[in-house]
């Protein structure tokens, strides 16, 4: 089924340089197929076709746009086990996880299909004319329109849900934007299979072919050329801080700068408040290590930093958590590069001044296995060396023992901004929790109580975002229906004849679509 083709707005291409996929579990290349590496011409052609498709795609009735997203989901499901097996070989992730991720991916596409139909994202507003006013008040009508073609970068850690047909793609398509995907080189076969599903869904629903392209390749030059292309209007990315900030720089240096939505890095601080720690330390230790080691710790929301007050309760927690970590089996990591970076990061943490290693997970000499790690230092030590709180992508966490609540708050304030912040609080902790909340609200896109940050629900009220450097743009989320707003801009129509107005804005607005009429909201 796989040819190693590029998908350039309806045309398949495979010429020139090739690269191969890698099976991290086996530590070996996957021989077939060899994947075509996109050239600068391929990038330009994909962007040109996306631009050419923009007007046709964005002006299709919303029901057709929704049906297209639904069809992509159905076609992905129809790929069957072939998709899961290829994804497993390329990512080292367990099959059960990938089954769940496929469900999440298709559910996400369908949720955005429903969101397209709901229509509230258009933000319709009408202010009616008043000819009697001096000067006369014009008729003003506002809607949100799509930005233009969007570049999406596949993420290595979600080869389905944040890759070729993942959240960024789904939300951009829902907004009415054609998408040019730069596939992640860690899972090119998975990307190609999903591109085949797109090809079929485009044919089936009669969408313009340029609405989707897949560029593959191991070189960073492809992504750089894509973001620099004048036809690209916005960028969606999930990955490293180095990668995300490089794209931000390219986007800002363009003759016409464009928005970049890069979800980059976080340690997702978890605060164990005293009463919770005292009442249920053992359960917290178990929940913490389960969250820490899930998926080899390769989640954006992995709990990489824990804060609590020093004392016998924290010592007991550390002993419990250390016990769980020391029996945790090593797990295959997503790629040799990620595994090597993890080992480097862990070794650097272990070797830093004042660091105590609490526990080390089970070793495994098979390729690319990452063992969990648990470390501890005091709040004062962390305040003196704040870089220790930077993300190590993988199942390693640092427990910070603070002298008192003031020091704990100082540590929180000294942290970089985050995707999530979590409080474990019992009834007697609520006052302390209330004192911490304003700081957490400044710092993170999502605040959790008595849970763990891994597990990001795809729904309306989710925020998977946060101020820089958690993301490049804290005004947005990359998970949940609010993500559609990233790819929209408002346009106002003044005194336009009814015949020229978009249908949704005629008269007193289309029935059933939320609207603000002369300032008053109407459903």
């Amino acid at each position: 089924m796989l040819n190693g083709d590029l998908f350039i707005g309806g045309e398949r291409r495979a010429a020139g340089r090739r690269f191969r996929a890698y099976d991290p579990g086996k530590g070996a290349e996957i021989p077939e197929p060899a994947f075509a590496e996109a050239t600068a011409l391929d990038v330009a052609d994909a962007c040109a076709r996306a631009e050419a498709a923009f007007e046709a795609y964005s002006s299709r009735p919303l029901a057709e746009r929704a049906a297209f997203l639904e069809a992509v989901a159905t076609r992905i499901e129809a790929l069957g086990d072939a998709l899961l097996e290829r994804a497993q070989a390329e990512s080292g992730l367990p099959l059960a996880r990938l089954q769940g991720e496929r469900g999440r991916t298709c559910g996400q596409l369908r949720l955005f299909g429903k969101e397209v139909l709901e229509g509230g994202w258009q933000g319709l507003r009408i202010d009616e004319a008043d000819a009697a006013r001096v000067p006369p008040k014009p008729d003003l009508r506002l809607r949100h329109v799509p930005l233009g073609p969007v570049a999406v970068f596949g993420a290595s850690n979600f080869p389905l849900a944040f890759s070729t047909a993942g959240g960024d793609t789904a939300s951009a398509l829902a907004a009415g934007c054609p998408v040019v995907v730069k596939g992640h080189p860690a899972h090119p076969g998975t990307s190609e299979l999903v591109a085949i599903a797109f090809e079929e869904a485009i044919r089936e629903t009669g969408m313009p072919a340029g609405v989707f392209s897949l560029l593959q390749g191991a070189s960073n030059d492809i992504g750089a050329a894509l973001v620099a292309d004048p036809r690209i209007a916005a960028v969606g990315f999930t990955g490293s801080r180095a990668g995300g900030t490089a794209l931000m720089r390219i986007a800002a240096a363009r003759p016409v700068p464009i928005p970049v939505y890069a979800e980059m890095s976080a340690v997702n601080p978890v605060v164990l408040l005293p009463q919770a720690l005292k009442a249920r330390g053992a359960a917290l230790a178990q929940g913490f290590v389960a969250s820490l080691t899930m998926g080899a710790g390769q989640f954006c929301t992995n709990p990489g930093l824990l804060l609590a007050l020093a004392g016998p309760e924290l010592d007991a927690f550390l002993a419990d958590a250390g016990g769980h970590v020391s029996t945790a089996p090593a797990q295959v990591m997503l790629s040799a590069g990620i595994h090597a970076a993890y080992e480097r990061g862990k070794a650097e943490l272990a070797g830093s001044a004042g660091m105590r290693q609490v526990a080390q997970g089970q070793a495994d000499s098979a390729p690319n296995r990452g063992a969990a790690g648990l470390f501890t230092m005091t709040g004062a030590e962390l305040l003196a060396d704040p870089e220790r709180a930077h993300e190590i992508f993988g199942a390693t966490s640092l427990v910070v023992a603070c002298a008192d609540e003031a020091e704990l708050l100082a540590v929180l304030r000294a942290l970089e901004d985050q995707l999530t912040a979590t409080l474990h609080a019992d009834a007697q902790d609520l006052e302390a929790a209330r004192r911490l909340l304003p700081t957490l609200e400044r710092k993170a896109g999502r605040i959790l109580a008595n849970g763990w940050p891994t597990g990001v629900e795809v729904t309306h009220a989710m925020v998977h975002g946060g101020p820089f450097p958690a993301t490049s743009d804290g005004r947005s989320t990359s998970v949940g229906t609010l993500a559609i707003e990233r790819f929209l801009r408002p346009v106002c129509y003044q005194d336009l004849p009814e015949a020229l107005l978009p249908e949704a804005l005629r008269g007193e607005g289309a029935a059933g679509i939320p609207l603000r009429l002369n300032g008053t909201r109407r459903l």
Copy 2:
């Protein structure tokens, strides 16, 4: 009443270097007072006080925030004629215009006060828990929170409505953000008077003093230090493209980049479609020159570019418009710098290859008087020399005679992006208008029919924005209630105990505030 003080979050300061205001109508300095020039320390102190005030200000009940905006408006009105007279001396704008602008400024503050109370800008969303689901679905609640302290740059061309208490200040305060204003050096006395109104309103409503600061000075270093300050979370600016892009670069180069909302430059293309031109060419010529020369052409939405098909109707229009331009009196421009730049720009346009001058307004040897100018070239000539379509800030416009509709569309496509685009279309022009609309939607934030772009209504459905280089961020508007969204970011609360939730998100949400509950909107 004026001392030349800086207003640093409740403290008045006036030490060190001084600068003086300038009366462009007289071409002379205004001797009193000498205004203090802010130092780097003043900038840092203002930012520190804004940051210190953030939590207190943003957590005040919305009714108090609205009352504060209302009080600022009332205190500005109470300044009486002293404000208008000072603004007239510093800007050269007619008293009637400044009266109108004061009304707009105070109306804008009150409109944002009402918007604060309406509450829909919080974008509340609740997805209720489902413990029966596998895995259990958490309780998720979302609201939008203010970004943090905002730097606002006063604009020279709206010394009231887009300056110290102008649209950017009003929308940032409405969002819950303290504001540090960099006053425009062309009207420091006007800014100081408005700062006195702020001082009184803050005292009267018991707001934290750090919620407002006014930094003055003629040096660009002050603004650069302000945007670079780590406590500033966003920037609002109206001014030149050079100024706006300089701020964009500073903001992007910070360790923590921040959003910049800069409204910069536009020529606001106006298309006269054939039937409209034929049926009412004389009236169009009159309306055009009135819009062009209003306020000495010193509006962001000034019609600097007109497009129509070449032919006898356009020749007649040019003759009529040229007649009106040639009798138009010269007008005082806002500053010697703006006047000099206008004369330079007009001379450069006049001297460019193929340019024909249609008419020249009345000359006036008094200081800083700008005479209107009307030029014409063909579409082919403009396509060969697209820089001729760049903004000349003032009452000069270029009429582009296109060979046919295809060339007219090509010229529109070749233009940079714009704040507005206008179509004059009669019934028989509607098909042509429909063909142009998709291009105009990509290019501009506001599309007008059968009107003129000057005159920007402050209301709900207004968009005063547009893709770069019209603004730095086409996803927003700087006029109208939608402007509040520029200074907000979403935060999600997962499984938070009721007692820790923001009031508006408890239970099924606060009564009377728009909410999305499990995906369904509720008013």
